[in-house]
């Protein structure tokens, strides 16, 4: 393939790709994202390849492994074009049938379709599925349509046309103005307006400047950046090149976490392809603008998601943050102006250039524009990635899209903003999602993790979990974070173990205040958030742990006990057989008893006891009832009747 030398050549090339393809020929898209691969997508892709070969359909039917379309709960996801038939939870065994019926006979296979749990209605098209219906997918929508390893696929859908538009018809200042006007705010956490950040760098006197993609997505339970990096790497790259043009930078960096090997691979490939087409490198599309991109891998440090720490790490040193008296867009990497934006932010840039700032600002709230991708996980029926307009209520996201809490449990809280975010209780569920709205509620937008918790989740334990995470990830440079968090973790652990004391809450509050006021970087400053927000909304749970040695969620191991109700036990032996530590005594027709000394409180007996008996119970804050005396343990039909 020759270089594309002008924006017109890109257009012609796109027409050429499209004319080579017959839109009526079937195309099978199979999600090859991490979630679906874990559910067996690789075998499905292989099976499709084999079957198509066997049936001699290779000339007319194409298959592609694509990025994540978001519906991880029902993976592996397969979408068949042009009809857009969406099959869920597809197994390799289903493949011959799909080829036979759907591809050859054009018939839909009912059992692989999505069935609405409420109405029982089947949805044939992807867009008819309730999970997708309420979403507004502008950034994520191409993931399922693009072979993540093919630049031609991206170009065929209009890829790099924003770059052509910017380089061909807009001055660098116009590009900057458009982004400023769109009020695009950083999707990585703090929500700083991207245009203002760019402007600062552009106006800085130093001639060498950098643009950087922050792809060090470290928040546990958040994987939207990964979906974009793996599924649609060119969209991020295109945004980055446009950003480089706007601020007159000629060098860009991808800082990708090493835990995402597929993302690293796809980004490398995307860069190589773009270079071959003349969309990257010297004299891009004949405009005279030069730009090169380098990929750096992180090595597993959460703090490197912080801008100054990331830049230190790029320089090949330990990623410790520095004070920001001078912002990194003025003095960043190698002390030069550096614009650092998150993956999703960059991916929004081509859309803004193509469709205009007015289109972008038509969606969203007053202060937060556009859409945002959330990773909806935890105790939720439909786990997955959802892209919604800013301003949608949490309730709609959790119930309309997420399908509510599984197993008929009760909603307790939703945690947003990653480890430094906070928990939002049920009475605030009508809150609109947006940067400022979430901050006001004591949480934050963060990168977009949304972890749903039900009645079985202990909020003290959640706070302990996050503080533990942050203690581990603290770089250790400044005292309030390094030592303060350690002490907070110690106290919270004590509370969850039933060793809480009066006054613990006050000490925790004091330590929080110090960390918020005196830490150097955002990690330390926001670290007490999980504690402060759970205390604000779930103080009663803290008090129950400390004052009554009781865990209201029946979750903290040291504060609960399992016991068997002798009235309900039928001596089926299920729990005895499954107990990993042989703590359950009993035999046929003998009521089972748990040896509290041996019991590790793993909860296996509670789970395996058949629901119709429900004999195993969890208790907390009360003494374990005395076991049934030896003489009364035999179950006879008579004794059952009597007891009733």
């Amino acid at each position: 393939m020759a270089r594309l030398n002008t924006p017109e050549e890109l257009l012609t090339f796109r027409q050429e790709i499209l004319s080579r393809r017959d839109p009526n020929n079937p195309c099978i898209s199979i999600c090859a994202g991490a979630g679906c691969v874990a559910s067996g997508a690789d075998e499905v892709i292989e099976a499709f390849g084999r079957e198509i070969e066997k049936q001699g359909l290779a000339a007319t039917v194409t298959t592609k492994g694509t990025g994540c379309p978001g519906f991880c709960e029902r993976g592996p996801v397969v979408v068949i074009y042009p009809e857009e038939i969406c099959y869920l939870q597809v197994k390799a065994e289903d493949v011959p049938e799909i080829i036979e019926k759907t591809i050859k006979e054009k018939k839909v296979i009912d059992r692989l379709l999505f069935e609405d749990p409420a109405t029982g209605e089947k949805a044939v098209k992807e867009s008819d599925i309730s999970f997708y219906k309420a979403q507004e997918r502008t950034v994520l929508c191409n993931n399922i349509k693009i072979d993540s390893k093919s630049i031609d696929d991206y170009i065929s859908l209009g890829g790099y046309s924003a770059l052509a538009k910017a380089l061909g018809g807009m001055s660098d200042l116009e590009v900057l103005e458009e982004v400023k006007k769109s009020n695009l705010r950083g999707r990585g956490g703090a929500g700083f307006p991207a245009g203002r950040k760019w402007e600062g760098s552009r106006n800085a006197p130093e001639p060498i400047k950098y643009v950087i993609v922050n792809a060090d997505e470290g928040d546990p339970g958040a994987f939207m950046d990964r979906a974009l990096l793996e599924g649609n790497p060119h969209s991020i790259l295109e945004g980055l090149i446009i950003g480089g043009y706007a601020i007159a930078s000629h060098e860009g960096y991808f800082y990708v976490r090493q835990e995402y090997p597929l993302a690293v691979e796809n980004i490398h490939l995307a860069i190589k392809q773009a270079e071959a087409y003349g969309l990257l490198g010297e004299n891009i599309l004949g405009s005279g603008f030069d730009f090169k991109v380098v990929v750096h891998q992180g090595a597993g440090a959460f703090v490197c998601g912080e801008s100054t720490a990331l830049m230190t790490s790029l320089e090949g040193r330990a990623g410790e943050p520095r004070p920001k008296y001078v912002r990194s867009n003025i003095k960043g990497l190698w002390n030069r102006p550096s614009v650092l934006n998150n993956v999703e932010t960059w991916a929004n840039v081509p859309l803004i250039i193509n469709k205009g700032a007015d289109w972008f600002t038509s969606v969203g709230t007053d202060s937060s524009k556009g859409t945002k991708i959330f990773s909806l996980v935890g105790k939720i029926t439909n786990t997955g990635l959802v892209e919604v307009p800013m301003g949608m209520s949490l309730r709609d996201i959790i119930y309309k899209i997420g399908g509510g809490i599984p197993e008929g449990k009760k909603f307790k809280a939703v945690q947003t903003g990653g480890p430094s975010g906070g928990c939002i209780p049920e009475n605030l569920l009508d809150l609109q999602v947006g940067f400022d709205e979430l901050t006001k509620a004591g949480s934050m937008m963060g990168s977009g993790g949304m972890i749903v918790m039900d009645e079985d989740t202990c909020m003290v334990d959640v706070a302990r979990y996050f503080i533990n995470f942050l203690t581990d990830e603290s770089c250790g440079k400044c005292v309030p974070c390094r030592e303060g968090l350690r002490q907070m973790h110690r106290i919270l652990t004590n509370i969850t173990r039933g060793k809480g004391k009066k006054g613990d809450i006050e000490i925790l509050e004091e330590l929080s205040e110090t960390a918020v006021e005196a830490s150097l970087c955002a990690l330390g400053k926001s670290a007490p958030n999980p504690f402060l927000s759970t205390l604000k909304y779930f103080r009663d749970e803290y008090e129950a742990h400390i004052n009554e040695n009781r865990c209201p969620a029946l979750s903290c191991k040291e504060l609960i006990a399992f016991c068997i109700d002798p009235e309900k036990c039928t001596a089926c032996g299920m729990c005895r057989k499954k107990c990993p530590v042989e703590a359950i005594d009993g035999e046929k027709k003998i009521i089972h008893i748990i040896d509290q000394e041996k019991c590790t409180r793993c909860g296996t007996c509670f789970e395996v006891c058949p629901a119709k008996f429900g004999a195993v119970t969890k208790i907390s804050g009360e003494p374990v009832p005395d076991p049934v005396p030896e003489g009364e343990r035999t179950i006879t039909k008579k004794s059952r009747k009597e007891s009733k």
Binding site: S39, P220, G221, F223, E259, Y260
Partner: protein
């Protein structure tokens, strides 16, 4: 690890001191851990003091200064897995293997690590062994799965 191999890796990155992290990552993925001699060689070739290399090796989680076992067990303790009971899975693995996160058993059979998120939250709690994901784990399923590794 052979010196030639290390030199090759260093050359690939043009011997630049700023690529130190990338060089160490490459050595680690080649050898699964960072032997002292390898770090010494890197220090010499890049003209970077060994203590700075040690700083990096201990600062970043991806690096290991001790050898790894035949089977690498990763327990996801990301938030989604945590609320779905990852602690119980970790407890089960610790019980079955006799090692804690970061450790390798004496037979060099298992190495245990916790990871912050594997990105397959729909399948939580998740255990990954040698790159293969085992989803929707329970204590019982976990001990059964571990038995299949020799």
């Amino acid at each position: 690890m052979e010196i030639d191999k290390i030199d090759q890796i260093i050359d690939k990155h043009n011997g630049e001191a700023s690529s130190l992290l990338q060089i160490m990552l490459d050595i680690q993925s080649e050898n699964s851990w960072l032997p002292k001699e390898a770090l010494g060689r890197v220090s010499e070739k890049l003209n970077v003091p060994l203590n700075r290399i040690q700083h990096i090796a201990t600062f970043y989680k991806a690096f290991s200064l001790v050898p790894k076992g035949r089977h690498k067990v990763h327990i996801c303790v990301g938030t989604a897995c945590h609320v779905r009971g990852a602690t119980r899975i970790l407890d089960t693995v610790e019980e079955a293997t006799g090692i804690k996160p970061g450790e390798t058993d004496l037979d060099m059979k298992f190495s245990l690590e916790t990871v912050n998120c594997l990105g397959c939250c729909a399948l939580g709690p998740v255990m990954e062994v040698n790159g293969k994901v085992h989803g929707k784990m329970s204590p019982v399923k976990t001990s059964q799965a571990l038995k299949t590794y020799e």
